[in-house]
Amino acid sequence: MRVLRAFESAGLEYVLIGAAAMAFHGLVRATADLDFFIRATPENIERLRTALREAFQGDPEINTISSEDLLGEYPAVRYAPPTGNLYLDVLTRLGEAASFETVEAEIKDIDGTLVRVATPAALYQLKKGTVRLQDQADAAALRERFNLRDEK
């Protein structure tokens, strides 16, 4: 929650995906990572650094998260904070198919913090074509719970 509050406080443009997003839709399983797309602009990446510094007491490692990387050769950045079990996977794009702009999202209110969460259909689209077994299980759970169908 501290991370999500910091995102809102910094005005970060993001959309939550992965297990945390599924939890917002009632499909609850444990995870160690918080996955999210961010809008791929230098200004937004600065907001990301600001939010992470606020959430993790100014950890100097955060300064190595750069626009050059996230907008260029490294669209996936993982940040493991100095303490705790949670780590964050920050994405600017997923192949050529998905990005902040293409993932359908809805706003959820959790204890007064507004969280931008991928819709069940968007999560299903992200997960159904992957090879990771956990993603396939997630896709099956989403399809079953929300009666989702593949587009022809």
């Binding site: 444990a30 669209p75 993982r78």
Partner: protein, 66 residues
């Protein structure tokens, strides 16, 4: 509804989960905390950069049993 009975695993999987008064995100946070207490993560600290999500997932597998 303390006990539910099913004729098959398929029937069990289709049944709605027992209702809980706890909101799902709170349940998620609590469940994660329980898992982390049972199986603390050993992921190295800091920032790691990947060319793709597949590369990121491979790195995760090296450090995780989840």
């Amino acid at each position: 509804m303390p006990v539910q009975k099913f004729r098959s695993i398929e029937e069990m999987n289709k049944a709605p989960e027992p209702s809980s008064q706890e909101p799902p995100f709170e349940r998620f946070v609590r469940l994660c905390a329980q898992y982390w207490a049972i199986a603390p993560k050993q992921y190295p600290r800091g920032v790691f950069k990947f060319h793709s999500i597949e590369e990121a997932q491979k790195a995760r597998l090296k450090h995780s049993s989840w």
